[in-house]
């Protein structure tokens, strides 16, 4: 059971981290920091869709990760 707890915590932290990074990446894309839209060939028209997807993915990952961390 201890091993499972450790695995859960590690996976939870990793998944939450991925979620937070996805949300931060969404902000970077929205404000076009480091000219990221040009670098990734993302047209300004499609940015809202990408942000929506990144935020949904980010939030799901953070919540799922928290369930594992606080198991």
């Amino acid at each position: 059971m201890e091993a499972r707890k450790i695995v859960s915590k590690v996976v939870g932290v990793a998944q939450s981290g991925i979620g937070v990074l996805a949300i931060i990446f969404g902000y970077i894309l929205y404000y076009n920091l480091f000219h990221i839209q040009g670098m990734l060939n993302v047209s300004a028209q499609n940015v809202p869709l990408y942000i929506l997807l990144l935020f949904i993915f980010g939030l799901l990952s953070v919540i799922s990760g928290f369930f594992l961390i606080y198991e």
């Binding site: 499972r4 998944q15 902000y27 993915f57 990760g65 594992l68």
Partner: protein
């Protein structure tokens, strides 16, 4: 100390200042222009009229606050009156509208600063102010109350100077004849438009578990702040319309700054700009206090995670609720989208007003013997007038607000379902979603690997390689998280 662990440290002065500071936001400094273009010089009548409409509902807050002085304000009233979904919806709208109002105030402050220092980053400035006021709020409610009182004293002094200079020495080029160029409809539209400047005073009710001698102080603070707002707004409108004609005011982005500049020169412009900044910060402070106490109350009753109801041993405040709610506000402020945030704030507060009046009427029937240190005068006329006027405001409100309101209600119903359905089932659901994300990212990685998605032609090779391995990593973690969540033991 309250039995909840919150400390009763706010006196009449602090509580009243929370009420006035919660309502006087940067909005009044810009909204007066458009309202005057709708109502003409009759704006002098519109503002006290809005104040009287506000007073109807404030009387309900005063009665309920004195009778049920527990943390949570409207949510607690609705819980005692109705319980269940109605209480949750009230708390939800109260929490979310205060979070949006805090974001709106911080972004509003940053915009005012950007007029003086155009080089500043608006979202970053807003975030820094939220962090500063979060730290003040974590230190204790008395500290937050003292900061609020200091800001309000300075603000009221500046507004008193504006009034006195305008009254004694201001130009009399404007008309004082109470004309309404667009007739009754224009006056009604102006009433619906400018009413929002009175919203926020109910913050007193949210902090009622931290107010000394609540049965006397709460009704006094609520009624005092509601009357003070009527006086302040009416006097400001009087000297403003007297100094400059409604046509000119309607064209100005910041009419008060313009009129102050006309009356006092550059000093007036600077003073009103400072007043705008203070007003925005006082609203931010009040909103942080309010949203954290609502989150605390929702957590206390099992709707929010238990961490929100933890009380700091030394400072006696729900510090986790303050910090987590502020993080949510920071995320909103980081978007810098002030219009969207403003819409959400208005809808939440107006729904809250309606539900408080309904709660009062329900409790008068359900608990007639409840000890009520203050009673609403002219019952049932007063709460009915409060309900009718609140709903009437919704008729004049922008359609975008109503659309957003429907979306927020759906989100609330979803949150309520998650809260009552049980921890374990929610966890299994999130496990399923993680498995789905894992399968999807694995598919995308596979399609990139076999060359079906030509990533290497769209991106530089190193970036394409990093993205490919990144997707495999996300896929593995999501799969593992899915399996662990679905097989884990939960609190059933």
């Amino acid at each position: 100390m309250d039995k909840s662990g919150l400390r009763r440290e706010l006196g009449l002065l602090h509580a009243t200042m929370f009420g006035i500071g919660g309502a006087i936001s940067a909005g009044v400094f810009v909204m007066l222009g458009h309202a005057t273009s709708l109502a003409g010089a009759a704006i002098i009548i519109v503002l006290p009229l809005c104040g009287i409409i506000n007073l109807f509902t404030m009387c309900s807050y005063a009665e309920l606050g004195a009778a049920i002085p527990s943390a949570g304000g409207e949510y607690t009233f609705a819980k005692v009156a109705y319980g269940g979904l109605v209480a949750f919806l009230t708390g939800w709208f109260e929490w979310i509208s205060n979070a949006f109002f805090a974001a709106l105030s911080s972004v509003g402050f940053a915009y005012i600063v950007s007029y003086i220092v155009p080089a500043i980053n608006v979202p970053l400035t807003a975030i820094i102010m939220i962090i500063i006021f979060t730290v003040i709020n974590v230190r204790g409610v008395k500290e937050a109350g003292t900061v609020e009182t200091m800001m309000m004293v300075v603000l009221l002094i500046i507004l008193a100077m504006y009034f006195l200079v305008g009254w004694l020495y201001g130009p009399g080029t404007g008309t004082l004849q109470l004309s309404a160029p667009r007739g009754f409809l224009g006056v009604a539209e102006a009433t619906a438009y400018i009413f929002v400047v009175y919203l926020g005073a109910e913050a007193i009710a949210v902090t009622q578990a931290e107010i000394k001698n609540p049965s006397k102080t709460i009704p006094r603070a609520i009624i005092l702040s509601a009357i003070a707002l009527i006086v302040v707004y009416t006097l400001i409108a009087y000297v403003t319309v007297r100094a400059v004609s409604p046509e000119i005011l309607g064209r100005e982005v910041s009419p008060l700054t313009y009129v102050a500049g006309q009356m006092m020169g550059p000093l007036g412009t600077i003073l009103i700009t400072i007043a705008g900044m203070i007003a925005a910060l006082s609203s931010l402070n009040t909103s942080i206090v309010a949203q954290s106490r609502v989150a605390y109350a929702l957590s206390r009753d099992g709707y929010f995670p238990t961490a929100f109801s933890k009380i700091h041993r030394r400072f006696g405040v729900p510090h986790v609720a303050v910090i987590l709610s502020s993080l949510f506000t920071i995320a909103l402020a980081a978007t810098g989208v002030i219009q969207f945030v403003g819409y959400a704030t208005d809808f939440g507060f107006i729904v809250g007003f309606t539900l408080v009046n309904l709660s009062l009427m329900k409790l008068r029937q359900k608990k007639p013997n409840l000890k009520r240190p203050f009673k609403v005068p002219l019952y049932p006329f007063t709460p009915i007038a409060g309900i009718v006027t609140s709903l009437a405001l919704l008729l004049f409100i922008d359609m975008k607000v109503l659309a957003l309101g429907v979306e927020l209600t759906i989100l609330a119903l979803l949150a309520y379902y998650i809260a009552i359905v049980g921890h374990h089932r929610v966890r299994v659901a999130f496990g399923g979603m993680s498995l789905g994300i894992g399968a999807f990212t694995a598919l995308v990685a596979y399609l990139i690997g076999v060359g079906f998605i030509p990533l290497a032609t769209a991106l530089p090779q190193p970036l394409a390689t990093i993205l490919f391995y990144g997707l495999i990593f996300v896929s593995v973690i999501s799969f593992l998280a899915g399996v662990l969540n679905m097989t884990g033991k939960g609190q059933r």
